[in-house]
């Protein structure tokens, strides 16, 4: 088994799984019917993409593990998502801010991943790009509506961006496994995306009459399995059924 490739795939997929779970929490709790449906639709897209990645990862392990085992039965430190996506739905501005900061990255990333010489990863990327373009439209639209809205919505949107900013730099970190997979022409060198990312984000923030935070300190750790306290609670929800009734299906 190609252990580096396995780890690399989890690095992509875990981001979407955890973000999808966060968005799923809004099902029936969104601020309005339309935004509720939008967030859960985005969640569904992400889960669909995740299934393709985990099915591929399961095939690579060759040890009979299924996509469900990978999604449901790992321990907290075995998840390698970035810290950004596990941050809670503090308020709608946070939900949108988190989505926006991830979507801009996600689309840049997939645009490169479609050039991968791994045909499976390239196919998943091509399929996902179409969906993620819609996600980015949705989140950018809302950043603008809230940022350029009332004094209160503006302040909330600015607070969310300021609060989440510390988690953005980690998107561009590479693990040792990442570096090897990149050198094999399979993975994406995320360090090359950083400049475009920040200029794109700044441009959209400016349109939304928001300030781009002046960064000094960035949090990291998710890619190495070291998470914020929020992930444990999320996983206890996500894994509850499989832990309580092992192997249950419906």
């Amino acid at each position: 088994m190609n252990n580096n490739l396995y780890k690399y795939i989890l690095g992509i997929a875990d981001n979407s799984l955890i973000l999808g779970q966060r968005l799923g929490e809004l099902c029936g709790h969104g601020p309005s019917l339309e935004t509720d449906i939008a967030c859960t639709n985005i969640s569904l897209d992400l889960f669909g993409q995740v299934r393709s990645y985990y099915q591929y990862a399961a095939k690579i392990t060759g040890n009979g593990k299924s996509e469900d085992d990978i999604a449901m039965l790992r321990k907290e430190r075995e998840y390698v998502n970035v810290l950004l996506v596990e941050q809670p739905n503090t308020d709608f501005a946070y939900t949108i801010g988190r989505q926006f900061l991830f979507d801009v990255y996600h689309l840049l990333f997939l645009n490169e991943l479609q050039k991968s010489n791994d045909l499976m990863l390239s196919a998943i990327a091509v399929k996902s790009i179409k969906e993620v373009s819609y996600h980015q439209r949705f989140s950018s639209d809302w950043v603008k509506r809230l940022g350029d809205g009332t004094a209160e919505s503006h302040q909330k949107m600015q607070d969310a961006i300021d609060g989440l900013w510390t988690y953005t730099d980690e998107l561009f970190h590479q693990t040792d496994a990442d570096k090897i997979i990149v050198s094999e022409g399979i993975g994406v060198d995320v360090t090359n995306l950083k400049e475009t990312y920040y200029s794109k984000v700044s441009e959209l923030l400016q349109e939304a009459t928001l300030k781009t935070p002046e960064s000094k300190w960035f949090q990291k750790g998710g890619k190495e399995g070291i998470h914020t306290e929020h992930l444990g609670y999320l996983l206890s929800d996500l894994q509850y059924m499989q832990r309580t009734y092992p192997n249950m299906e419906w």
Binding site: L44, G48, A123
Partner: protein, 166 residues
């Protein structure tokens, strides 16, 4: 290399045509363009299907329905889910577009017009109730991943629009 060509054994076509999309029952899966190939090999029908959207929950049901339809006519089958080439709304047949409209779902516009209605507030989508184009976007996301919500400002009908995917 991947191609967008379809390989359907002509004698299997009428059987597959009978299988409908679980979320839009008036529409055959053949009219949706999700079946990319169906060929008989050593007494087994090998079928390749492709999802409209990654998270489309209908794909498992479609796979099962195809298996059943083929079995009812005496064929064993294997279903394979493929991702490349990615599905596009261009693969919906003219008959399929008509069925969508009759069902109350506005068929996808071309990519340029789609962008106009979803991003720039243009009024181009035809109301499925009164055919007026005096319609507006209510939400980019609708009852399923593939649709957006619209409302007609003439007859007030709320309806789904099938988003263009290319």
């Amino acid at each position: 290399m991947v191609t967008a060509e379809q390989h359907i054994d002509q004698k299997l076509f009428p059987i597959l045509e009978q299988v409908s999309d679980p979320e839009i029952p008036v529409l055959s899966i053949m009219d949706m363009g999700v079946v990319r190939s169906a060929v008989l090999e050593n007494d087994i029908v090998k079928v390749q299907i492709t999802p409209t959207y990654s998270g489309c929950p209908a794909m498992d049901v479609i796979g099962d329905d195809i298996k059943k339809a083929l079995l009812d006519t005496g064929y064993n089958s294997e279903i394979e889910l493929i991702l490349a080439p990615a599905w596009t709304t261009d693969w919906i047949t003219p008959k399929g577009r008509k069925a969508l409209e009759d069902y109350g779902i506005a068929a996808p516009l071309d990519a340029e017009a789609d962008k106009g209605v979803l991003l720039e507030g243009k009024r181009l989508v035809k109301c499925t109730n009164c055919t007026s184009t005096n319609t507006r976007l209510v939400s980019q996301f609708g009852s399923t991943a593939c649709k957006a919500q619209f409302q007609c400002d003439d007859c007030q009908e709320p309806f789904d629009y099938f988003k263009c995917l290319k």
